[in-house]
């Protein structure tokens, strides 16, 4: 077997470089939105209303109980049909379509939002109840205490876990190849089938993922140690 890594790399690298741009774009937006979703879910689950809590738990379980890939397919193929049908009910005959990249961002926001909400919730629960009492005793209201003295340290304590999920999300962008997002895997696949440099192409692809995620994991570890020290 003859391998041509140099040649493969020279041709594939520019392709992958463009793919990295898309991956970063989707990950940054997807992660930010997932944090917002997670925070809203976590706060909602502190609600006194049993109905609110029950609804949120059900939603979270549905999201966590189905594969991310299936959710991407659902957003890409099913949701536009449902939305079009819904618009039809109101007399608007339109054909709604969602961009694959948009589906990716929304899918990540929902899926990671569900998982991260559990992270934030347990971090909130883990904050010493004395913090709440101290805030209340000073004359802060329950919501001022929550947003002023409970959520900030809870989020801060969650940062290392957030970091791990961020690295996971970057790798999960490869699933988006299945709904035709021009990310790294899809570009590599196209390249491999055109040039027959299969071994080279996928090895380089794996290397690129490692080159992104290993340093990032190290950053997370350093962050974790710093946070633990200054508490």
């Amino acid at each position: 077997m003859e391998l041509h890594f140099e040649k493969a790399f020279a041709q594939l690298a520019p392709e992958l470089w463009n793919g990295v741009g898309i991956v970063v774009y989707i990950t940054v937006l997807g992660f930010l939105f997932s944090l917002v979703v997670a925070l809203l879910l976590a706060i909602g689950r502190l609600s006194r209303s049993k109905i609110v809590r029950g609804t949120l738990v059900t939603l979270i379980e549905i999201v966590r109980g189905t594969p991310l890939l299936v959710q991407f397919f659902y957003l890409y193929y099913v949701v536009p049909v449902l939305l079009s049908a819904l618009a039809g009910l109101f007399g608007a005959h339109v054909s709604i379509q969602l961009e694959p990249v948009t589906c990716g961002i929304i899918g990540f926001a929902i899926n990671y939002g569900a998982y991260l909400s559990e992270v934030i919730r347990s971090a909130i629960v883990a904050i010493d109840p004395g913090q709440r009492e101290a805030g209340l005793a000073l004359g802060f209201s329950e919501s001022q205490v929550l947003f002023g003295f409970i959520i900030p340290p809870a989020l801060r304590n969650s940062v290392p876990v957030f970091g791990n999920y961020l690295v996971m999300m970057i790798k999960d962008t490869s699933l988006l190849a299945m709904i035709s997002v021009q990310e790294l895997l899809l570009r590599t696949k196209a390249f491999a089938s055109q040039t027959f440099m299969t071994v080279e192409a996928y090895t380089i692809l794996a290397g690129v993922y490692l080159a992104i995620s290993l340093p990032l994991s190290q950053v997370v570890k350093v962050l974790e140690r710093r946070l633990a020290k200054s508490r």
Binding site: G130, Q131, L136, A137, L138, S141, F149, S230
Partner: protein, 243 residues
């Protein structure tokens, strides 16, 4: 009119009766020290005063007004007047010492930042920690943290300060500094209700000592009466064990 007037106060957690028909009055400028074995309801009584616990029955009068029925936004407003110092300090770990002290006046009393800062530094000087203004709580000793907690409570200019075993979580050598600060507050005329096991403090500083056991006020009187000539067997038994 009494500053605080607890009338027939009872508190149960489920089947557990923690406070039974408590009647306590605290006048302006008075230092009342509450002693008793653990589980006697001292802390719960204190927490009923600032409504961290809601009484099951009875009234909490503050300057003549029944606060035990307060709802909604009236509760935090009432708490502006009643400061509390906790056994475990409960400083905000992500804020500096100074920020711990200024947070409430800035946010709740709408005090300008600079003025709040000036006043906080003044309070920190009073508790001997001006030099730690920019330190984080985790870098301070327990005794220092507790003194910051006292300054934090004072920053709201409360009418009365509640102390919930303020020295119980401290190493013995750190207790003195905290008691010193409390003593000077008492000398300045601060109204204080202090739950403590520091009998020396009770003898020296209290105007009145209350002995609680099993949810009842068993005996109350001047430190002289309680420590030298307790009338109740249970008080005698307790004092024999702790003194």
């Amino acid at each position: 009119m009494a500053m605080i007037d607890l009338k027939n106060l009872s508190k149960s957690f489920g089947d557990l009766e923690v406070l039974r028909d408590i009647n306590i009055q605290v006048d302006r400028g008075e230092v009342v020290v509450v002693i008793g074995p653990s589980g006697s309801g001292k802390s719960t009584m204190l927490r009923c005063i600032n409504l961290l616990e809601r009484p099951t029955s009875g009234q909490v009068l503050f300057q003549g007004e029944d606060v035990s029925a307060l709802k909604g936004r009236a509760v935090p407003l009432y708490r502006h007047e009643v400061g509390m110092v906790f056994q475990r300090f409960n400083l905000f770990p992500l804020k500096t010492v100074l920020e711990n002290v200024t947070a409430a006046p800035i946010k709740l009393r709408r005090m300008p930042r600079l003025a709040a800062r000036e006043e906080a530094l003044e309070l920190l000087r009073k508790v001997g920690l001006e030099s730690k203004a920019n330190a984080y709580p985790s870098t301070l000793s327990g005794g220092q943290q507790q003194r910051v907690a006292i300054a934090r409570a004072l920053a709201m200019h409360p009418e009365v300060l509640l102390f919930d075993e303020p020295t119980s979580a401290l190493d013995p050598e750190l207790v003195g500094d905290v008691l010193e600060v409390m003593k000077s507050l008492a000398n300045e005329g601060m109204t204080m209700v202090v739950v403590t096991h520091e009998m020396g403090f009770a003898k020296d500083v209290a105007n009145r000592v209350i002995f609680m056991d099993e949810g009842y006020v068993v005996e109350e009187g001047t430190p002289q009466q309680i420590f030298s000539n307790p009338s109740n067997d249970r008080t005698r038994g307790f004092l024999a064990r702790v003194l």
